[in-house]
Each structure stands twice: as structure tokens, then as C-alpha cells.
Amino acid sequence: MSCQPDIKEELVFDRPAALADVPTHYCPGCQHGVIHRMVAECLEEFGLVERTIAVSSIGCSVFLYNYILVDTVEAPHGRAPAVATGVKRARTDAFVFAYQGDGDLASIGLAEIMHAANRGERISIVFVNNTVYGMTGGQMAPTTMIGQKTTTCPAGRCAEREGGPMRMAEIIASLDGVAYSSRVAVDSVKHMAQAKRALRRAFEVQVKGEGFGFVEFLATCPTNWRVSAVAANERVAKEMIPGFPLGVFKDAAKED
């Protein structure tokens, strides 16, 4: 470009070095990419990249090890917190986080997450809630909202038949071993700033040895919601946030 020579510019936004420079397999508009970037940025901020062991789960985020440049263990479906417990107990010097979706964490992995949280394991959990099973074709998840249509509840989720959506951040916050639990969204610049702060704190509680850190991210799944990426992002503010309120539900630092 011709305008470059005498105007001083600074690069204000670039890919973090811990995030691999490769194309992702995610669908257009899927917010896993944004959350991956935030995780990579937080790891760099804390200087943890070299001593991090990630535990990836089953779901679309199964290929986490291709995108975040840290050592990764691939856990069986739902068992990421149990695997992370083992990793952390064997390698107490390592920073251990698990990255799980809602079908993984809130359904098949419910026992593992509840007990790991209750024991107060020094691990951090990044929980991505998009209200459906993304990878397997959009089936109903425990977090699917009332009235939401999925391939296994084509008429919409019915409260009498399937119960209501599970609010995991509140459930986890009620357990004694938990140092930090919050819910955030990445649908706007303001919410992304809050999300980054929450993720930092969830990592910090582990670094300081305070206890179990948990962040629930509200994210989109345009493909399985059968809407455009922009409409999916709008749905987060319109429908998801009223049903899954954002906020910090437990913070050990503020209770003293």
C-alpha cells in the first residue's frame, strides 16, 4: 500500500504464539475459535505455556491439541476432569486445564465434574455451552433450552418430558471445593472482556493453589441451530443470556 511510509503504525492485534497458525475444522461462526484464542492468551499472560498439560474432551473440541500448542491428553467421553485429576496429582508442578463441551461435561461426564469440583482438585475447567451436541449432529443436551428444537426433540424441548436446562456454573458454585465459578459469553466486545477476566481468574485460583476453577462460556452452534452465524450470535444475547445469567457465582477471594 502506498500510504505506509510516513505514518507510524503499531500492530495491536495478532494471533497469540501459543495458538497454532493452522486453519481450524470448526464451522463458520463457531465460537470455539474465540475461546481457544482466549485460553492461549491467558496461558501466555501467566507464562504457563511451557508447563501446561491440557486435557481435551470428546466433541468438536476433540482436536484441541492441534490448535493450542501445549502438551495434551485426550480423555474418554466426559472423563476429562478425572484424567486432569490424575495428571495434576502426578505432576503437581504442571498447570492442568480441561476443555469440555456441554454434551461431554453436563451429560456423560456429570459424575466426574461434580466429584472433581467437590474434592477441590487444583485444576481449571473451560466449559463451552452451546446447548446442543455439536459433533454428533445436534441432539438434545442437558443444557438445551425449553422450546429449542434439536434432532432428538424436533418439537422443541418440553419441560415435563425432558426437564429444564442445567445451569452448571451455579451447580458447581454450590460445591465446597470450588474456588471460582462463573458464566460468561463471547457474543460482544464487552462480554469478551468480561470473559477474559473470568478465565484469568479461573487459571489464577489453580496457580495460587486456592482450589477448583470453573468458567462456563456461552457459545454458538450455527450449524446445529440451523441459523446463520450472525443470527446465532444474536440468539446468545436474546435467548441464552436470559436463561443462563452471566456472572460470578463463587469466588474464594471475595468470601474472606
Partner: protein, 79 residues
């Protein structure tokens, strides 16, 4: 001049960047990349409106946007 550079081979054309741009200068182009996605672009006429706020880059799920902000003319661009 503040500006963004979109990596067109990474762009999946989701247009979340266009949704959050406070100056609404990002739009779908008429080009397709190798994967068949219609990529986003800042049309030539709107390029000087960019403030380098990086909202688009933060929103991009594919981290396909780099942002340069001009140091000198910041005050001028904000009005």
C-alpha cells in the same frame, strides 16, 4: 491510517466481524477463497474509516484478522 488485514484463506465468511464493527465498514466481498467461503473485506472506499479498535479481530473465530493502529492520527480519526 489504521487498518485491518484479513487472511482470506482463513476467513470462513461468517461475517461476525461485520456485525461488531462500530463503523460498519466490513462487508462480504464477491470473492471466494480456496475452501469456497465468500470472504469478508473492507471496501476500498471505506478503508480510511477504520479506527483500529480491533473489535472485528477479537470477534473473529478463526483469528484471521490482524489490526494495525496508527499512532499519530488517533485523535483525528476519533471525531
Amino acid at each position: 491510517m489504521s487498518r485491518i488485514v484479513i487472511d482470506e484463506e482463513r476467513c470462513k465468511g461468517c461475517l461476525l466481524c461485520a456485525q461488531v464493527c462500530p463503523k460498519t465498514i466490513i462487508a462480504a466481498s464477491s470473492r471466494f477463497n480456496a475452501k469456497g467461503y465468500k470472504v469478508a473485506e473492507v471496501p476500498e472506499a471505506a478503508k480510511d474509516k477504520c479506527t483500529g479498535c480491533a473489535a472485528c479481530a477479537q470477534m473473529c473465530p478463526d483469528v484471521a484478522i490482524k489490526v494495525w493502529r496508527s499512532v499519530k492520527s488517533k485523535a483525528k480519526e476519533n471525531d
